[in-house]
């Protein structure tokens, strides 16, 4: 799935996600009027049409949507103690703007390269030596043994502590939530998603939701929601199908 081609039909905007980002970047569209939940719904609908969970697309979508959320939150609630609270606001703003612009530029570059590759598809050339060419022998000039020691020293040098504190967007692995939800389901047959992820950052909540989708796809759980935006109830599917103890194979698969 190509996230930037995601078709959107919102009150404030109709067209591909890509164009929406461009308009927001150019300030031709006020983000306050954009329903980000509707974008997420459109994405999830597209995701549900496929058999496999497209993690590549999910990652990409998360980056873009969390950046949009961040921007919108800052516009709407400048006082709100968002997850960037511990950061210097200027640093966070700088980082966010830089990343948005950089990511967007790289998407454009990738699109240009793809187009170029298609144009050049009818250019054939030989890779490697010609059939009747002589085989060259490359000899190595004398080398200093000290270079070997230097290379080992470089490999043995402590890497600096990489601080991630400046990163506005951090993604915990989906597997972390898969494990967590499975553990909960071993104790209880049902739980309330919203209560379970309460207190987590938005990004963590989004990843938790992906984990939920994955569990549903693999047939481990059923999801219920009384109405849009109502709490999501998660039920162990085995529990619904048969009230007996889980079979060993279920254990193996969920391990």
């Amino acid at each position: 799935m190509i996230v930037r081609e995601l078709a959107l039909d919102l009150d404030a905007f109709e067209g591909p996600f890509d164009l929406l980002l461009t308009l927001v970047l150019k300030e031709e569209l006020d983000l306050r009027e954009v329903d980000i939940a509707a974008i997420v719904l459109a994405f999830l609908e597209r995701l549900a049409e496929r058999d496999e969970l497209d993690l590549e697309a999910c990652g990409e979508f998360l980056v873009l949507v969390s950046a949009l959320l961040e921007l919108k939150a800052r516009g709407l609630f400048p006082e709100e103690a968002a997850e960037l609270a511990e950061l210097e606001p200027e640093v966070a703003a700088e980082e966010l703007a830089r990343r948005l612009a950089e990511y967007r530029r790289m998407k454009e570059a990738a699109a240009w390269l793809r187009e170029r590759l298609e144009e050049e598809g009818d250019r054939f050339f030989r890779l490697g030596p010609a059939p009747l060419a002589p085989k060259p022998e490359v000899q190595l000039a004398p080398q200093q043994p000290e270079k070997l020691a230097q290379v080992i020293r470089l490999l043995a040098a402590d890497p600096p502590q990489v601080s991630l504190a400046h990163m506005a967007l951090r993604f915990p692995p989906v597997s972390q939530f898969l494990d967590r939800f499975r553990a909960v389901l071993r104790r209880r047959s049902r739980f309330d998603f919203d209560a379970e992820v309460e207190g987590l950052s938005r990004v963590e909540q989004a990843v938790a939701f992906l984990a939920l989708l994955d569990l549903r796809r693999s047939g481990e759980i059923a999801l219920e929601q009384a109405a849009p935006f109502a709490p999501i109830r998660v039920a162990r599917l085995e529990e619904i199908r048969n009230r007996d103890e889980r079979t060993p194979s279920w254990n193996a698969r969920s391990a």
Binding site: P89, R98, F124, L132
Partner: protein, 199 residues
Amino acid sequence: MERPLRLIAPDPLDQLARTIEALLVVASAPLSVAELADAADDDPERVETALELVAERYSEGRSGIVLEHVAGGWAFRAAREAADACARLFERPAQRNLSQAAMETLAIVAYLGPCSRPDIARIRGVAADSAVANLVERGLIAESGRDDEGGAIRYRTTPLFERVFGLESLSQLPRLDDVGPDADRIRDRLHTVAEKRSA
């Protein structure tokens, strides 16, 4: 200033052109003017002139072999009109089937110059390990030393990348400054918000 009278005719350019043809038909990769001049044991200027002759002879529509300026040098390739025939005989090069992840990773390496897997992951927001391994295997990017700080391996694009994409050099990549002013505007806007917040 008067030029000395030449009694002996210079080596005919045509012979140099034939030598260049011979070199290019056996070469494994594009050859620069300097490499051609060294091998032909002739002046780079004369090589440039002879290359014009060769380019004229081996051009689309005139010949099945076409001379092209690519990846910092000169190389022969098949004429575009023979693409269907080539496609029937040769497998589509692996370099031409790239996933979106690989394409974005390639764009980042091509535009930002030597960069490491953490650098790429930071921009794309997802781990770049498999995309990088895939591009290395296809020969489109290669290792280029290690980061001064973190010690992470850095990658750059290869001459093969330029050849596959039909680029004379990386400087032929289009500039991507369209978003630049917008990025500044967003930054200003965020600064304004930030100031309000910290006030």
